[in-house]
């Protein structure tokens, strides 16, 4: 659907050298990278707002490299939305429908505003809208002309954390309903994992790794990607809420996270598919089972021990691969070694669900 072939581009300190990328029709693709990695530029090149010095941009089997943005049929949403401040919500949404008949325009505005729950805001002026409302109007404006591709530049970064979660879901729901090929640019790996089918990690104008979202996180192929995710223990699974059995001194949890053979007691907000992340330093290693009953205690065999400075990085097989960090001293005093069985305990509160 979208193909970048040997795209070269440079402005200031930012440079793309022979950049290649291919995105399938109907895919929700995330581009993940630190601030200043040139993600916005990349979107602007696809939209035709920036022209590469060499290379080709293809959209739907059409070489659009020489086409101006107004003839590419690409929807673009900047992170600060950039609604037209001199127009009402309705006129903003209608902006891209200028070549349709009046009847068609009204029908389309009805349709899209209904889809995004904007019916009551249509006659409002955009300056009085909340951040979330502005975001939905910007989305409606971009989607109204039925673009072949939807480009989202950090679409959630201007929202507060509570809204972010809800809008994240709305974006994926919307994508499921409309099936518009979507590229979502973000610096937040959680966001990318939750929304995207596939993702590419980009740094300094280069794709560092590309693949299915969970594969990239689980098997980082470079130190940069591993560092970028920061968390080595990430599991994809499902949340089931449960009533906590009352036991004194036990830790609080309200849900069970299931991933294959793995069962973890966790604290979660809702049911459904989710990721669980555990920082290696939050994994407590011991030879005997501890007393705290609500902790997640996993038994497994140590498969790898790696010394990095004063710390030891220990990989164990507890049904899944689990990485723990501990001091060299603990390693010695616990008499841990390769192929030794041990218990790996994690507090419910130390498991991050997203």
């Amino acid at each position: 659907m979208i193909r970048l072939v040997d795209v070269c581009f440079s402005v200031g300190a930012f440079e793309l050298r022979s950049f290649n990328l291919e995105i399938e029709r109907g895919e929700y693709f995330a581009i993940l990278g630190p601030t200043g990695a040139g993600k916005t530029r990349l979107l602007e090149i696809i939209a035709g707002l920036q022209r590469p010095s060499s290379g080709e941009v293809w959209i739907a089997d059409e070489n659009v490299t020489a086409l101006p943005p107004d003839r590419r049929r690409v929807g673009f949403m900047y992170q600060d939305y950039l609604l037209f401040p001199h127009l009402t919500v309705r006129k903003n949404i209608m902006f891209g429908l200028h070549d349709k008949t009046k009847k068609e325009r009204l029908r389309r505005v009805d349709e899209i505003s209904h889809l995004l729950g904007l019916d009551n805001l249509l006659d409002r002026h955009v300056t009085g809208l909340s951040g979330g409302e502005q975001q939905r109007v910007a989305l409606a404006r971009a989607l109204a002309p039925q673009p072949r591709v939807l480009l989202l530049d950090e679409p959630l970064s201007a929202l507060d954390p509570q809204n972010r979660r809800a809008v994240r879901r709305e974006l994926t729901d919307l994508h499921q309903k409309l099936g518009t090929t979507t590229i979502h640019v973000t610096h937040d790996f959680e966001e990318a994992l939750v929304v995207a089918d596939r993702l590419a990690v980009v740094n300094k104008g280069e794709i560092v790794q590309i693949g299915l979202a969970e594969d990239v996180v689980r098997k980082p192929q470079s130190a940069f990607v591993a560092d970028f995710f920061g968390v080595e223990n990430i599991f994809k699974g499902e949340i089931v809420l449960c009533d906590q059995s009352e036991s004194p001194g036990a830790e609080v949890y309200n849900a069970i996270f299931k991933s294959g053979a793995l069962r973890l007691s966790v604290i979660a907000e809702g049911e459904g598919p989710a990721y669980a992340a555990i920082r290696p330093e939050d994994v407590i290693v011991s030879r005997e089972l501890g007393h705290s009953s609500a902790m997640n205690n996993l038994r497994g065999k140590i498969v790898e021990i790696e010394t990095t400075g004063p710390l030891v990085r220990l990989t164990a097989d507890v049904g899944v691969r689990l990485v723990a960090l501990l001091t060299r001293q603990s390693l010695v005093s616990l008499k841990l070694d390769k192929d030794v069985d041990a218990y790996f305990s994690v507090k419910a509160s130390a498991i991050h669900i997203f």
Binding site: P69, Y78, L82, H86, F95, H98, D99, R141, P145
Partner: protein, 296 residues
Amino acid sequence: MRIMINTVVLSIILILLHRAFATRRASTTMRNQMRHPSLLTVIFSVLGAAIVLFLVAPIVKMMLAGSYEGLGEALASSEVRSSIALTMICALLATGTGMVLGVPLAYLLARRTFFGKRIVEAVVDVPVVIPHPVVGIALLLIFGRQFFGGQFFDRLGITVVGGIAGIVLAMLFVSVPLLINAARDGFQRIDPRLESVARTLGYGPLRAFVGVSLPLSWRALLSGAIMMWARAISEFGSIVIITYNPKVASVLIYDRFTSYGLTYALPVAVVLVLICLFAFALLRGVNVRSDQVKVI
């Protein structure tokens, strides 16, 4: 007549009051400073008051000095009336020309980088530093009958030197920088990405300009146009060299002053000041509603 003069004095006072009230949003610390003024505040206030008085006093005095009979006579005189009409129309024509030719340049200066941009920007500001009689002479060298510009307009049947076209050209030369700079600042304040969004929504560059940039900068453009118009009305030095007759208001005042003296010049001067103050009030009306545009 007295009512009229009173209105003018009142409007000046109102303008001063408006300025004074603009400081009411002052922070608490500033208000404390006002209660216990430092030596700096006192000295600077006295110096500031002196220059404000210097600016206001002559105009107020002139308004009060004009006899009503003189003013009535001036307004009744067909020479004065046609002179003022001529001034206004020429200023309007100059402003219109400035809009058509200046706004596109302002847009390019705000949005594009091109070779020699700095030079063009400097050229736009040149009229401000050239003495206006020199402007008149310079224009003669292009638009005089024996020169290219003059011959060009001659062929179109338009008289430049000694004609209305000369007045318009002189006004355009001295006042168009105000419009260009105001429009450029106005365009610069609009996020260029708003146009990018319009482009992705199927608008070509020209349509994006008309659909987004123009409606978002109309206040800056209007403000620039009023400034240009007011500046054109008050022009004298270059016009007097190119077209003495028909006389624009400023030339008429000068003519009456040198031929008949102060008493005859004064009523026309008062009328011109009234018009200028009207334009000034209009400008403030445009600007006060939003602080988007600064008065130069």
